[in-house]
């Protein structure tokens, strides 16, 4: 039972002999530097890259937000044109949701889930790399629309015939992050080239294909994580011993695999309308634009929970750690998370109350929406129960996590307000809704994710972020955020409509809009400071031990940064909060003698996920250019499909490979702190 690809165990992958895959190509296992990062299948490195891209796009989306707030700082402003304003708020929403929050959550999934369940990697390491690169391709496609937009504004395309024949020249998406039909679709009969008249330019096509590609990335990652969590738990790690963050990852992944197909199909249908003259949402041929709203929100509402549940999981890890107490009501927190996820599929029409659903559906969706407040409230009371009577340490992650609770709660309250359909009719499309979901998404999700970054950064890089800067940044974020979005409740109820590029003086909106803009800039400075602190920490921060917070879950039992094989020996779990029990309780973690001299199996690195992701990039750039009428560009799409197919095919053919890595002898390993070595054998 041996395989020629398995050499004797090596101490470092650099000691490997060059090894050929089943295809006869040299595997990139020994690469270092850039090539190592491009071919890595290590969930920790993939997680770090997800995090880096997400933080970058957070800043991009933040700049877009600041441009929006600058425009709205005073009435009748002309800082940006109406068209640019539409593009800014569309790209701001899309960027923050799909390129900021989701990948930052994915960064935590990647880095933490295998560590928390006692595994050495995810179930499908190469699929994980594929998810990352496909996400990067989708992000690039979406944002390349800005490049075209600036090219258009700078007059780069003036001499091209395809450019001259364009009816609409908006190159960046301008439909809002929901791209409602028929604005995003077509009207009237298709011409000989199968194009029906449209309302918008190719920006919408960039959005369609970009979201489609990001959907592929999210789906692939979610299949992988569900598989990992269900199938790769260490011995003794029963489902009800899983850390809550891992539980929320499982629920979130389930939501993704069940919600994304609806938007995938809706996007296909919209693409057929725009590219091939189909009539799914074309009103002049009987298409029902309202169908787009239904399909979008069947995806869109679970998406809200996809964004918030990981942050809830993070907070559920941080509060017990800094309260010195076990999480209050663990089973009910897990159950509530699952119920929130399930109910999330039954409330989509509350986004559509004002479309006139009829009395019975409206009442049903209103009641179900109110019902979601119950499990959410249960979680909040459990978090309060966790810190109640605890010895609280106000570290930066704890401050942010506490901020999460009450800011998220404010967002929850206004959410309950517009679950009531008559009230919602007043609030729909006003700044009140903006205030609501920014309290949930910034006050909730952003604070939660920042708390997570400050909590796990010492584990990821072995360096401790500067606490002073962290406190300052947290204060600025919470202050700026409340200044920016608190007044919007009032503005909304006073009638200011959202998605409108300016407003006239004399409506009584001037003061609070100006305050909101000041708040937005304070918030921007705070987020930038927080991120700058983290980036500085990653390279220059003060080194810290492997368990600086007195952590509770398995990842804190490992060295910081974590060795590439994670666990020199597989842990056998005896309790929930396994590591805390190991340190302070009676139930020790045992270790299986499966590492050591025999070595630990490491999966081989591969170029193929990157190649397949590159195919998606070609498709993603080709499709909108096809829509522009650029000659011969269809070949780019065909080439992209071919590259994607070849990437996946060769990936299957090259074989998983793998090599054995020697782990340090027991006792000398930094993965097993001193007090544990006694229990190891």
């Amino acid at each position: 039972m041996s395989h020629d690809s398995h050499h004797a165990p090596v101490a470092s992958k650099l000691d490997l002999a060059p090894e050929r895959s089943d295809l006869g190509l040299i595997r990139p296992d020994r690469k270092t530097g850039w090539a190592d990062w491009l071919t890595t299948v290590d969930h920790k490195k993939i997680g770090i890259m997800y995090g880096a891209f997400a933080m970058f796009f957070f800043l991009v989306g933040g700049l877009e937000a600041l441009a929006i707030r600058t425009q709205l700082a005073r009435p009748d402003n002309d800082f940006v044109t109406a068209r640019m304003y539409n593009q800014l708020f569309t790209m701001h929403g899309t960027t923050m949701i799909f390129l900021g929050v989701m990948p930052l959550s994915a960064a935590f999934f990647n880095f933490l889930v295998p560590l928390q369940i006692g595994a050495r990697d995810v179930a499908f390491p190469r699929l994980n790399a594929f998810s990352l690169w496909t996400f990067v391709a989708g992000a690039f496609v979406l944002n390349s629309s800005w490049l075209f937009e600036f090219g258009h504004l700078a007059g780069w395309f003036n001499n091209f015939s395809w450019y001259k024949s364009l009816v609409y020249t908006d190159f960046a998406p301008a439909n809002g992050w929901f791209s409602y039909a028929p604005l995003s679709g077509t009207v009237g009969q298709a011409d000989a080239a199968l194009h029906a008249p449209r309302f918008t330019g190719v920006g919408t096509d960039f959005w369609i294909i970009g979201i489609q590609i990001l959907g592929v990335a999210s789906l692939a990652a979610s299949f992988n994580f569900i598989c990992t969590i269900i199938n790769m738990r260490a011995k003794g790690m029963t489902m009800m011993r899983l850390p809550v963050f891992t539980w929320m990852t499982l629920v979130t992944s389930a939501l993704i695999i069940l919600a994304f197909p609806a938007i995938t199909v809706a996007l296909i249908e919209l693409m057929f309308d725009r590219q091939f003259g189909a009539n799914f949402f074309n009103p002049s041929a009987g298409g029902q634009p309202i169908l787009w709203q239904h399909l979008f929100w069947i995806f869109g509402h679970p998406e809200v929970y996809i964004l918030v549940l990981p942050a809830m999981g993070i907070v559920s890890e941080i509060l017990p750690t800094f309260s010195g107490k076990a999480l209050f009501g663990y089973p009910i927190i897990v159950f509530s998370g699952a119920v929130i996820g399930f109910l999330g599929f039954a409330v989509w029409s509350h986004h559509m109350f004002t479309t006139g659903l009829g009395a019975v559906p409206t009442a049903a969706f209103a009641l179900l929406t109110m019902a979601i407040a119950v499990p959410t409230g249960v979680k909040i009371f459990n978090w309060l129960g966790t810190i109640w009577g605890g010895k609280i340490r106000f570290t930066p992650p704890m401050v942010l996590a506490l901020g999460f609770i009450w800011m998220f709660m404010c967002g929850g309250f206004s959410g309950v307000m517009h679950s009531s359909a008559p009230a919602d009719a007043q609030q729909q499309d006003s700044y009140f809704v903006i205030a609501h979901f920014h309290y949930v998404l910034l006050g909730g999700v952003l604070l939660g994710l920042m708390a997570g970054l400050y909590f796990w950064f010492p584990k990821i890089f072995g360096r401790m972020p500067n606490a002073g800067v962290a406190y300052l940044a947290s204060g600025l974020v919470i202050l700026g955020f409340n200044l920016a979005f608190g007044p919007m409740h009032y503005l909304g109820l006073a009638g200011q409509p959202r998605r409108t590029h300016t407003y006239h003086a004399g409506n009584g909106w001037e003061t609070w809009n100006f305050v909101a803009t000041i708040g937005a800039f304070i918030l921007g400075i705070g987020v930038f400071l927080a991120f700058a602190n983290l980036v500085w920490t990653a390279f220059k921060g003060k080194k810290c031990g492997s368990d600086p917070w007195d952590g509770r879950t398995l990842e804190w039992s490992l060295s910081s940064p974590v060795a590439e094989y994670n666990f020199a020996q597989s842990p056998v779990i005896a309790a929930r909060d396994a590591y805390f029990e190991d340190k302070h309780g009676g139930r020790r973690i045992a270790y299986e003698n499966d590492g050591g001299e025999a070595g630990v199996h490491m999966p081989s690195q591969s170029w193929m996920p990157l190649v397949a992701g590159f195919g998606f990039l070609m498709i993603g750039l080709g499709m909108p250019m096809l829509s522009m009428g650029v000659p011969h560009i269809g070949w780019l799409v065909i080439a992209g499909l071919t590259v994607m197919f070849i990437g996946i095919w060769l990936w299957a053919l090259e074989g998983p490979g793998g090599y054995m890595l020697k782990t340090p002898a027991v006792g000398s390993t930094p993965s097993a702190p001193a007090h544990q070595t006694a229990t190891t054998h």
């Binding site: 039972m1 269900i230 695999i257 069940l258 609806a262 002049s284 041929a285 009987g286 029902q288 169908l291 239904h294 069947i298 599929f345 029409s349 006139g356 659903l357 009829g358 559906p361």
Partner: protein, 110 residues
């Protein structure tokens, strides 16, 4: 090919499954035949529709249980799949009933 020869008990089980597959294939063909005849029978439409739905559900579950081995495999797989199936069924039943004909203005187009 295989380095480890399958055990006799396993082979016996495979032979048993083989016979199940053949029986099922015959049933599937027969049910499809019945469906095609059914639609031309002068019987009330509601009855035919009920029977048609029932028959295709039977075919559907027969294929997932036997051809797709759910009856032999871990029960978790069955519940995972049924979760997706049930959610899809419930969601789209709701969508279809939300599109009540009398609430949609279709006069423009026909």
């Amino acid at each position: 090919m295989s380095d480890v020869a399958p055990s006799p008990a396993f082979l016996q089980e495979e032979v048993r499954r083989y016979h199940h597959f053949i029986t099922l294939a015959l049933w599937l063909a027969a049910i499809t035949g019945v469906e095609i005849v059914l639609i031309f029978l002068p019987v009330p439409m509601a009855l035919i529709l009920t029977v048609l739905c029932l028959l295709s559900a039977i075919k559907f579950f027969a294929v997932i249980m036997w051809f797709m081995h759910l009856i032999y495999d871990h029960r978790l797989l069955f519940w995972l799949f049924v979760t997706g199936l049930a959610l899809a069924f419930a969601t789209f039943t709701a969508v279809l009933s939300l599109f009540a004909v009398e609430r949609v203005d279709t006069k423009w187009f026909s």
